[in-house]
Symmetry: D3
Subunit: 303 residues, 6 copies
């Protein structure tokens, strides 16, 4: 595999050497905004939409990136193109942005900047092996004990890197099953999100997902809703509870790398008949068609 480069505030650095100061506000304060897209058959997916969302995050997070969103799209495509060189045709890349408030120092005002924003654009190789098996068997969805951070503390729609709460939630979930994927509830016990994805169920023919009051407004989530509409599958954004998941006919997660990950068990109980369901399959097929990549096939082959 050829070397991949990371863009750091204007510089291109080989991934192994891509580092930031220990005084960066990303390190000292977890004060950084992020977004993750990917390529499909070497084409960036909805990159403007991703950057647009990241600029909403930046605005709400009071970070001035020092670069327009159009410029960000341009640079992102340039970096990604560079990293795609030499990649085999069945392989794809992440497109990961991290924008912090730049270097800072400990003092009475944590937003004091000793530098401009730190902008990191990287293209990790999209290794889907960890998820590949779930397309056929489904994963085991499990609720964590830790609850999602409420919006009045930090809105989940600000896609950020202060993610320790979500990392710990996922660790709790792994106590049940090392292959478990987390379902994080909010402080009311309503289904919120996965550590890095959104949650959908199919119930009596309808596709349901939480509103974004307690979760990220995922681009993959948006894509599934668009595909469902195209396929005339009724959709509704609503409040979901564990009961809904226990009694659902189908269930899946959505996220940038794997697009859709079926779940066939929830807290030890079969979802529906315990198999990947027909609506999940139709949506996944429609997505594959949309991007002209057989998503399941790629996950199995990739490497």
């Amino acid at each position: 595999m050829t070397k991949r480069y990371v863009y750091i505030s204007g510089e291109f650095v080989v991934e192994e050497d891509a580092k930031i100061s220990v005084n960066d506000s990303a390190v000292l304060l977890g004060y950084s905004v992020t977004d993750s897209s990917r390529t499909f058959a070497h084409r960036p997916f909805k990159i403007e939409r991703h950057v647009d969302r990241m600029y909403k995050s930046l605005k709400a997070a009071r970070i001035d990136p020092g670069m327009s969103s159009a410029e960000m799209v341009r640079v992102t495509c340039e970096v990604t193109e560079r990293n795609l060189e030499g990649l085999e045709s069945h392989q794809d890349l992440w497109i990961v942005h991290t924008v912090s408030n730049g270097q800072t120092r400990l003092g009475p005002d944590p937003s004091v900047r000793e530098s401009g924003a730190t902008i990191i654009i990287s293209n990790p190789f999209l290794d889907l092996r960890g998820w590949a098996g779930y397309y056929s068997t489904g994963c085991h969805a499990v609720t964590s004990t830790s609850r999602a951070i409420p919006a009045q503390s930090l809105d989940a729609r600000i896609k950020n890197r202060s993610r320790m709460a979500y990392t710990l939630a996922e660790a709790e979930v792994k106590l049940v099953d090392s292959n478990a994927q987390g379902v994080i509830l909010d402080v009311n016990g309503f289904v919120a999100e996965n550590k890095g994805g959104n949650i959908f169920i199919v119930s009596e023919g309808e596709l349901l997902t939480p509103t974004t009051v307690n979760c990220l407004a995922g681009i993959s989530r948006e894509t599934v809703l668009e595909l469902a509409t195209k396929l005339s599958i009724p959709t509704r954004e609503t409040t979901l509870l564990p009961y809904d998941l226990y009694t659902a006919d189908e269930m899946f997660f959505t996220s940038t790398p794997y697009c859709m990950m079926p779940a066939t068990r929830f807290n030890g109980i079969d979802v529906g008949a315990g198999e990947v369901g027909p609506i999940t399959k139709r949506l996944l097929a429609a997505w594959s068609e949309l991007v002209d990549v057989d998503i399941v096939q790629q996950a199995r082959e990739q490497r």
Copy 2:
């Protein structure tokens, strides 16, 4: 000023070159634990207590530092001693620890480690000028709109670097007054903590501070409680509301760098008579005596 070194997982690096990988879990996930101590007259203050607390944070955060707490104390003292060399006698240093879960990669399990824990020990110069004026005039304490992250999402006693919520809270506070210091409330509206400190009031002769249900169990907080007991000032850990702050006789923050920072206004209203109060002064004097450094004097002179 002589160069200061940063210890990073066994290496000593000059501060300007102290960097960590963009794939460190501290950067990718905000998944790191921290603690801050300082020296007084070149002597580390309660360093065992600080390290002990950090090991509690590490345990609850499921991070294995790969080093015993005794060893951590030893290394910390060694690093600090090295950095104290050449420092003028009236100057002091921070002692800052950051321990992340090491390098990771994007995938189904965020706790997968590609390296051992990342251990950073640094000694930024203790520049107290930003706070110095508050010892005589008091600062303006202001409540933020954003609320403290509830313990069921992430316990504040795990002193961590996923601090974006607190950074944004502080930014909101600065809208009122660029010299404001934040009072963050919890989701019930109870007084929780400052972005990096604890909150005390004096009311009818009693020293009051929130229990640690919604805030960090600060070592400075602990020190003030000990000093008060020594001075026969009655203390109580309780639930505080903005009303208590509006009607308090005295108010102050506590934190590692400044020890105690008097607040003489709260949301635009004078605390007591709007002056630094006698109990605050007695406690600060007792602290100066304890560490054999005139804390106020040092803050003014230090440079």
Copy 3:
């Protein structure tokens, strides 16, 4: 300017002499219901709808006004007509109702009445100068620390005069900017209402406002929703969070006196491009047309 009269329980009194007993339940208990309408070009606006809403408030507040709603409309028009006499054509009046439970006395049952309900109908001169500038520049919307009273304590749809919480919230907001207008959140951190108005945003072409679970069901709010439907602007009553306001394209308040007040900053951050937006302008123009008064023009001229 000619004298204006206040109707107090059957009597007409010159405004300066309009007084109520210190033993009135409005004074002793804040136990009174209110409603505010206005005239446009000397015509009362939606007066039946206002009175109808007030009678809902009265019912839920267990106050028997001793007068049918039809009679209330009749009396209101009579009072208003009287006060309109001699007013210049470009000037207009408030129509303000206050109905308390009448005189009471301190004792075991606060609903004991020593008199019939106190009914006050007044027509303060509609002085819009305080708001006039906002039509072109927009105001600065700012969140208060104090939270809206939850419906399980007192439903905001009972339009009442126990408004100290809202008055204090507005005072907090003025700490940020003396021209700030308050955005009061509910105890979940969801956007509720302004001290005397409702809140709207435009986001991706859609007009959004909170459901009435946590705010007054304003007649101005209702009017904007009707106008939007007429103009084929999609509308949705939903749950809004500060994030929605930070990332909105447009924002405005609605209330009886000013109809619509654009907001171009929210907590120090520009709403959209920081200018009054096109949908706001279309709605305001439609309202002007509806009432045959150039609302913006009137605010500027009125004096």
Copy 4:
């Protein structure tokens, strides 16, 4: 009975003529602070303590009374003395303060003042007949459906006149029993307070009452705690739930006019044996002794 005078912002007015403008912020906004004391045998009770508490309310309510607390005590005593003239020796008076933010007008800033603060001091005749029977039989304590306003909306310790929520709660309670006295729970279901009093129980020999997190810090409450300490009855400020009241041995309310009001039933269930208990009686006797008035006797005779 001789005429009583009301002090209104410097004027003495006969009670029947004591009125305030309909534009007073007390009427328009419920924006006023209050306090109630009384005389015992013609001697004002703890009047400095009451005024001190009112000045805390005023501070937190951002109302400048335009008069020092010492001056307020002086004026209060003068008014009360005047009203005591001619009163029979077994009769006593309320001492009621109301301080509003003065006259205001409808506009963008509700705290705009068109006058100085409105200060009302009145001495209603202390008619205790409504409560007199409860000293021997106890009242029926009943929980309301409406919940106390949470402190993050408006702190109950700001003794204010925006009391519609509490008035409605009391009306709900009267649906159960026209002699019922209300027990208002907070939004967590914890016992908060009565519409105008505090709540105590005796359980296993200990005297318990809620902390002031959710209720007024009543002077009568304080007095009972002091008397209990004098009588060596252990006391604890804690969290109380309906279960505690159902299973208590004794229960009573405290408030300025009646001092202590025993409750012998709670939501239809006997408190203890359904009789006024021994600790209640001891405390009441101690209070009578403290003020040199037989409180029970007075309530029965007074007229």
Copy 5:
């Protein structure tokens, strides 16, 4: 009246002798799921839908009934047919299922089974006299102090027999009026459900009922929504508050035995004009037509 039989785990027992072990998990743990249907003119109503819902409850409650849902329907019809024998034509029966986790014993794991599931199918005589009067006069709806169990503790859609909270809520309601029917609020103060029924209001021509976030997804509720759609009455599942009930035009409960029970007072206040409303009547007539039984007539005659 002829004897009725109860089916208990395969046995048919005369009702008087129908008993279960004191070690059954239904008795020891309240660990049982239930469902109630009825016959109309001797025909089971929506029995598949009821059994389907019960199987959702069983799944979420982790109880394996040891019998397929098809078999459950078959057995249920058999039992019911047997009990219908000899019944007069104007009389009908309940169809009540209770499925517990079988016998258990006290120990570290309460789900340990000492037997298969206990399945009870009974057909109590449908005695509607207690409700009959409400069809013409309406009942008095009253809120309880106790709040519905939140879904994060136990989802109300798991129709279960751990109903002590609901029984106590109903007892509280009876303190107001021995003919009162309970309106249980959830912990946010939102209208949830009746002890055994759902709640509807009619407001401005629209039929409103709470979403199932806080209440049972009743089959009667579902039937009313279907009938309304057939009758072109607009319907909406939403959040309801006491204010909505105070100001509603009509109100009714739904439940298996009585289908619809009008409420004409709510907490002592007339709902609408205090009479059974026209939309309620139309829906009830439509239901009678659907099942070919005059529901009101039957309730009056039945005996």
Copy 6:
């Protein structure tokens, strides 16, 4: 082993035949109160205290048992003595009470009684083998996803049999580890209780347990607090969070059958050093001494 008898409302029945009607309110409504004591060396332990607590539960649950508490103690001892006959000296018995509201029927008032209260007193053999191993190795404490029922829905101090929520919580916990014992959090995320026990930790030499705001006031809990006081171990009833358990030095559960059950892991993390701690051992030894039975020894031998 000889036959044991169960007392059911005045009758003595062999355990296998001990049954109650399917129309009992315990079965139909989960409407029953319970209490569990045990014998030590054939002597009932704190039986008056247990019965006293049950009578508090009965009072708050509005169930009239039709028998005084003194009579209940007498009958209980009689039943127990009868069942102790023939038991080997190292064996002991449970003493389990269940009191339901008697037989009922489905109708508008669930508290209607068709019989007197149902009183069940049974003495299951005290088989401690399921817990015996934990005395030396400690169990694995695990948090459930389901949260404790809040007191405003049903106070946990009413020891009742509507325990489905707790049974399901325990089932969730067993997903992590079949030997796990549940730690149920309340809706704030605070540690509440185990499905049938209380929770203690030792932290910095102090013995801590939650206040009874969210959990049963266990007699075993009370006994441990008494023993600790005797042993001069400082105790505190407080608010505990998962963080406290992760960082505790020792942890144990208390409940009637096993008295104290050490926990050496919490959610996969060692409690202290992962071994049964010294204070736990001292308390357990003191309890053995108190009852003159070697509790650990008995658990291992009993059969």
